[in-house]
């Protein structure tokens, strides 16, 4: 399911989501420090989402969680599943404007935060001064 990634970091998302991934691309993604940071962030994000779900606190649209299918008469389950799959396949085949773009995996949503080694505060002293003048973008006048 990881083919066609535009962002090389998406293979990490796929891995964290438990999907099969291309080992070469996965190694390549982890070869970058950004990829390793992303793996940690993605893992922590999913951990947080799971812990929230477990504690009853969660988002309106929680991350997908695998559900256990309770025992039911097997014949009924098989029949319903077959009908749904068949209907889905027929609909997919007959609906004319389903595009491949709509099937693309979602973009990664982990926040990539730059973390400079030096503290941001107190504000460092300026080493040189550059003065700028703003010019109007529209018709409301100029500087």
């Amino acid at each position: 399911m990881e083919s066609g990634f535009e962002n090389p970091l998406e293979v990490i998302d796929a891995f964290v989501d438990g999907e099969r991934v291309d080992v070469v691309r996965f190694k390549a993604a982890l070869a970058e420090s950004e990829g390793r940071d992303y793996l940690v962030d993605a893992w922590m994000l999913r951990e947080a989402a799971r812990s929230d779900a477990a504690s009853g606190m969660g988002f309106a649209a929680p991350l997908p969680v695998a559900r256990r299918v309770h025992s039911r008469p097997w014949i009924l389950v098989t029949a319903v599943a077959s009908a749904i799959i068949a209907g889905f396949a027929v609909g997919r085949g007959t609906y004319p404007i389903a595009t491949s773009a709509s099937a693309n995996p979602p973009v990664p949503t982990v926040v990539v935060v730059a973390t400079p080694a030096v503290a941001a505060f107190p504000v460092p002293a300026a080493t040189r001064v550059i003065q700028l003048e703003f010019r109007s973008d529209g018709s409301s006048g100029g500087d």
């Binding site: 420090s33 950004e34 940071d37 940690v40 962030d41 922590m44 994000l45 947080a48 989402a49 929230d52 969660g58 988002f59 309106a60 649209a61 991350l63 029949a79 319903v80 749904i84 799959i85 209907g87 889905f88 027929v90 609909g91 997919r92 609906y95 404007i97 709509s102 973009v107 949503t109 982990v110 926040v111 990539v112 935060v113 730059a114 973390t115 400079p116 080694a117 030096v118 503290a119 505060f121 107190p122 504000v123 460092p124 002293a125 300026a126 080493t127 040189r128 001064v129 550059i130 003065q131 700028l132 003048e133 703003f134 010019r135 109007s136 973008d137 409301s140 006048g141 100029g142 500087d143």
Partner: protein
């Protein structure tokens, strides 16, 4: 029975396809609004220093906003918990929807550190907010129980704001030195401090750190509120850093900034203006400051080239087409008077220069870059 199930599946499939093709909503970031999490540190003199970070344009996000030994030095990390936090929060987010007018976001926040140590069962909550441009929603406040000489702050807050994302436009050729090629050598972490100096002398500072890829990146601050005798206006600064290499091998940055002023008595879309400058890639120990003159810092004087303004600098090479290049030590310009020109905005019965409108509020932007290994 089976035929009805089949029909139901067909309907579901059709609905699913139509949903995928519906006008972009949560998954497609068409609107250019950024949800910003901020931790303002309130000083007794009215000054405020604020760490900020932007949430993802869509989907889920997780950040930690914290301070270390005192509340006076706020910082932020991504999903990984900081090991040395003494005060702060974990904020998980989920963008529900966005439109041209607002963003709906679900936030799960919790205070994880207080009094210099990790706490369990701290204040927290899950809220769904519909944020409009300029909104500023406080979520929590940690009071500074033991002010010291090196940190006299009153409190550290946690807020959510909505700001405009930077609109990237191609760098005009006039600003690019002859023979330069696009792209930098290594990724950068760029830090920006937007400094708003009030007429009283108190400073309100917003900090932001962004990862800058080889081609360049953008930054954007949530609006800063300016209270004037004519009413309240918001000043928002966004911008971009484009990276180039000179034929000699050195790297330089094309910095573009857009300032949007909105508020009482101004046109509904606000008053937008822009400027730009070209500077050599600063060393990690260098901190250039871009002082914004003209409509914000005072009346602007004539002249200037390039797109939307010019840097008043000395030293450095001259860009193709006459654009200004900042390349060396720059002398401070003399104080300017609000009446000397400035962007003019129609307010009520007459035209008022933006500089006059802002009544002496000064703005400047500091920059520090470090290479990412």
């Amino acid at each position: 029975m089976w035929s009805s199930v089949l029909v139901a599946a067909l309907i579901l499939q059709t609905a699913a396809v139509e949903l995928r093709q519906a006008p972009p909503a949560a998954a497609a970031p068409t609107a250019d609004w950024l949800v910003v999490v901020a931790t303002p540190v309130y000083q007794p003199d009215g000054g405020v220093t604020t760490e900020t970070t932007s949430l993802p344009m869509a989907g889920a996000g997780l950040v930690h906003m914290f301070a270390r030994r005192s509340v006076c030095a706020p910082a932020t990390t991504g999903a990984a918990e900081p090991a040395d936090a003494g005060f702060g929060w974990r904020v998980a987010s989920q963008i529900i929807s966005r439109s041209e007018r607002d963003v709906v976001v679900s936030l799960d926040w919790r205070r994880l550190w207080d009094g210099g140590r990790k706490v369990s069962g701290g204040p927290g909550g899950t809220v769904q907010l519909t944020l409009h441009p300029g909104d500023r929603i406080p979520l929590d406040l940690i009071t500074n129980a033991s002010p010291r000489a090196d940190c006299r702050a009153v409190a550290l807050g946690l807020e959510v704001r909505l700001g405009r994302a930077a609109v990237v436009s191609p760098t005009p050729a006039s600003m690019i030195p002859i023979g330069a090629t696009p792209g930098g050598a290594k990724k950068l972490d760029a830090e920006f401090w937007l400094i708003h100096t009030l007429p009283s002398g108190a400073e309100q500072v917003m900090h932001q750190a962004v990862r800058v890829p080889l081609a360049g990146g953008t930054f954007g601050f949530a609006p800063m509120s300016v209270e004037t005798t004519r009413g309240s206006v918001n000043v928002q600064l966004t911008g971009s850093l484009d990276r180039y290499r000179a034929p000699s091998g050195g790297e330089f940055l094309v910095m573009s900034m857009t300032r949007l002023v909105t508020g009482d008595g101004l046109p509904p879309a606000g008053v937008s203006s822009s400027t730009g400058s070209v500077i050599p890639l600063p060393l990690p120990t260098e901190v250039p400051i871009f002082e914004i003159t003209g409509p914000v810092g005072g009346g602007a004087r004539g002249g200037g080239g390039g797109r939307g303004g010019a840097a008043r600098v000395s030293g450095g090479a001259v860009a193709a087409g006459g654009g200004a290049v900042a390349g060396g030590v720059v002398a401070r310009a003399p104080q300017q008077t609000p009446a000397a020109g400035g962007q003019v905005v129609a307010r009520g019965g007459g035209a008022v220069p933006v500089a006059v409108l802002l009544e002496g509020h000064q703005f400047a932007l500091k920059l520090r870059v470090t290479q990412v290994n």
